[in-house]
């Protein structure tokens, strides 16, 4: 027997939303995304995660590239940097190197991340720079009106691939796991509460955290990454999944037909700032390098 549904009164709901404080992270600029876009869930999720973690607005920096997803900083009441196509991670790295106290969140779409910006991801991951990277994957180029992207299905017919695309989609989770990202997870815009938990977990992680967010483009993709399709395909990670087991995480990541949601992998290891602190200590104290000398 389930509980009978109680009525929800609009005024009560509004008071509840206003009262919990997360709206203070939303700017006065309303999102320009299409109605129904999955990115609304992400914006709400980031605001709620900041609120839950009590990140001061003044200490949060959201860095983005170019694309629908990259309009994100304008809609948040934090510091923001809307940079160039594909250059989100190096700019975010610069911000973090300059001021380690800031909470830096990099955001972008699948094209920004894995097409033009693909070369930067392994380096942010291997350095373990303490930032959070949220990739909003809708499998299509929305801002330029619906061309194929690196995560689009093979055989996708779009204005730029009128005879279908023969390129295979990338597997971002496997890439990030092998690049050495110290926190890798996946969430779905259609499950906003889980998404919020995952965003909060990613931001709380000390090191480079990568959250892959499946997020339908309701305007240009009516057939593949739709809410209808994803609702039946997505599943939770197995209850016994061990997030410290990288091979198990990779195995889960191979099952692209039924994307798993949850924390795939995490490890604690020194961050870029830790390494720089060690260098500063050695340089000032005159302690010689302890590593492997290239010239013997």
């Amino acid at each position: 027997m389930t509980e009978p549904l109680k009525p929800v009164y609009l005024e009560d709901k509004l008071n509840e939303v206003r009262g919990d404080g997360h709206l203070s992270y939303r700017s006065s600029s309303l999102p320009t995304w299409c109605p129904g876009c999955g990115y609304f869930s992400v914006a709400e999720g980031v605001a709620m995660a900041f609120n839950r973690l009590k990140v001061p607005s003044k200490d949060a920096v959201i860095v983005s590239g170019i694309g629908c997803a990259s309009r994100f900083p304008f809609f948040m009441e934090t510091y923001g940097f809307h940079t160039l196509h594909g250059r989100t991670l190096p700019v975010a790295t610069g911000v973090k190197v300059a001021n380690d106290k800031l909470t830096v969140v990099a955001v972008g779409g699948d094209g920004d991340a894995f097409a033009i910006g693909g070369g930067h991801i392994p380096h942010a991951a291997r350095r373990n720079v303490d930032i959070t990277y949220l990739v909003f994957d809708n499998g299509i180029y929305g801002l330029t009106k619906g061309q194929t992207s690196p995560t689009s299905v093979q055989g996708f017919v779009t204005p730029s691939t009128p005879y279908e695309s023969h390129d295979r989609p990338l597997n971002p989770l496997m890439m990030l796991l092998s690049y050495g990202a110290s926190w890798v997870g996946q969430a779905y815009a259609g499950q906003p509460h889980h998404l919020t938990d995952m965003i909060a977990g990613a931001i709380a992680h000390r090191g480079f955290s990568y959250l892959h967010i499946l997020s339908p483009c309701v305007t240009f993709d009516k057939t593949e990454m739709t809410y209808a399709n994803l609702n039946v395909r997505v599943r939770d990670l197995p209850a016994d999944h061990d997030p410290t087991d990288r091979m198990a995480a990779l195995e889960q990541a191979t099952r692209t037909g039924t994307p798993a949601l949850g924390l795939f992998y995490r490890e604690d290891r020194p961050t870029l700032a830790d390494g720089m602190a060690d260098i500063a200590m050695r340089a000032t104290a005159g302690i010689p390098a302890k590593g492997k000398k290239a010239r013997g």
Binding site: S29, S57, K58, D59, V61, I62, V63, P73, F74, E77, T78, Y79, G80, F81, H82, T83, L84, R87, L89, P90, V91, A92, T93, G94, V95, K96, V97, A98, N99, K101, L102, G119, H120, P122, H123, L272, M276, I279, A280, R282, A283, T284
Partner: protein, 593 residues
Amino acid sequence: MNRKGTDIQFAIIGSAGDGTIAAGDILKRAMARLGYKVIAFDIYPAEIRGFGKCISRVRITTEQAYSLKRHSDVLISLDDSYAIPHVGEVRDYGAVIYESSPVARLAEGGHITAHIKPSQLPYGVQVRGISERATASARSRNIVVLGYLAGLYGIDPKAFREIIAAKFRTKAQAVTDQNTAAFDAGFETGKAVFKLDDIVLGPPLHNKEAEKTTMMTGNGAVVRGCIDAGLDTFFGYPITPATTILERLAAELPKHGGRVLQTEDEISAIAATIGAGYAGARSATATSGPGLALMAEMLGLSVMGEVPSVVFVSQRGGPSTGLPTKTEQSDLNLAVFGGAGDAQRIVLAPTNVDGCYRTAGKAFEMAEQYQTPVVVLLDLYLSNRYETVVLPDKNPFSRNLDKQMADGGAGYMRFADSDDHISPRAIPGQEGGMHTVTGLEHNQLGKPSDLPENHEAMNAKRHLKLEAALRHPDFTICKRFGDEGPVDVGVLGWGSTFGEILEAMFAAQDEGIRCSAMKVVMLSPLPKDQIAAFMDDCGTVLLPELNYEGQLANLVSGALGRPVTKLTRSTGSPMQVEEILAEIRRLAQARAA
């Protein structure tokens, strides 16, 4: 163009692996330690090992010199096949020092003795034999010739021994001992030789200035300037000839509280530089032409977002990969104009090593004060050449030039326009200053806007604010040298070539030609008024530069609508003083006729 007092140029020539550059390094350091003014430049092949030609030229003077001389006084051959084509650069009554006992039988003309002119003085030395007897190895031939040189010209050997010990201090003691033994053996041999040339080493300077003198390269001076200006973060990607800036800063900056990161490419280097600049750091990167080409889009973001950034660009031969180990001044167009849209930025080009120090430090002041990218154009000849310089006692660079947000809150406008067109800046972490910086055109609040009147106004704001840089305190944006008032020939110049221009101008004055020269240090915004006033005084204007198209000549004649006479060379080598002098003579005669 010899200076009064001592003025001797040594050229050591050998094959890669002979220790040519190392020998030149010890020589110039020893001479600087003795109190001479030094200017030195090495030429080497792109390959690390193999059979490339290496030349180390060291000019020592007691008066200030501005460039190397065309004619060397002493040539030392460590490899005749490479040295033979350079015998002609030794002046009459100058000396040629060479191996007198070649190990192999040489074809006719294969030995340097067949090429020494009757007017030059030959000194054959058993270099290999001396090295083998002193150290049981032929590897110290380069040190033996240094000892010979010191013995022959009566140079104090103590300075050499100290420099040798310092150079090999990280190696085993045996290495220092071996090289010292090689030096001493060469010294004894040289001392016993009856000197026939007319090269005389006068006493060095012994005044207060000499005590404060240090010797450094252009890149080394850039590093010092960065540190003195309070550089916080540096991001770099290795590329000849800018790599040594990254390497030096990686070693030095952490001692001063700064952070250095080698990035995955030049795009990330400038992106991180701008990210750090946005977060309030004094931040920089260094590259060469190919890297600057990659950075062009990001420079546009720095302009549009009004985020401070500093880029040091050591030019080499281009286009494309070009001539990685040869010098050129062909990235002026890219530095001034590179990128999308109307993206004016500040471009500075120092002309000597001392200028590298000052310009590097001032670049950070300007980037911060005018909230703009600043490109500092160096070139391989300037980056790698050594000069003795006297750095100021007091740190000459200002901090905290940022125009900061006065009152934050809802009304805060990050891009507010004002009389000086510079907007109050808030940096992440500051309460009440939340805003988003964007590469999109935006209004004064920072919100995207493509309204026609807004784009016009913001373009104007971004350009007009840079005019104040032309009056930046304690910085020489351009400077005139030589005769005052009306002159027959005026020479405009920029970058490293200005040293040769000065030498040529002094020589022309000695010949009775009314002549003056102006260096242009700020290439963008261009000091049009000062250049126009200079050109008003000149019968004709000559502009020598190391590129094919005449890039500054085009910029100046385009901006001022006046003709200049180009003198362009793209040989990969510095311009010869004599080439410029010949052109000054020709122009002076043409005016007289």
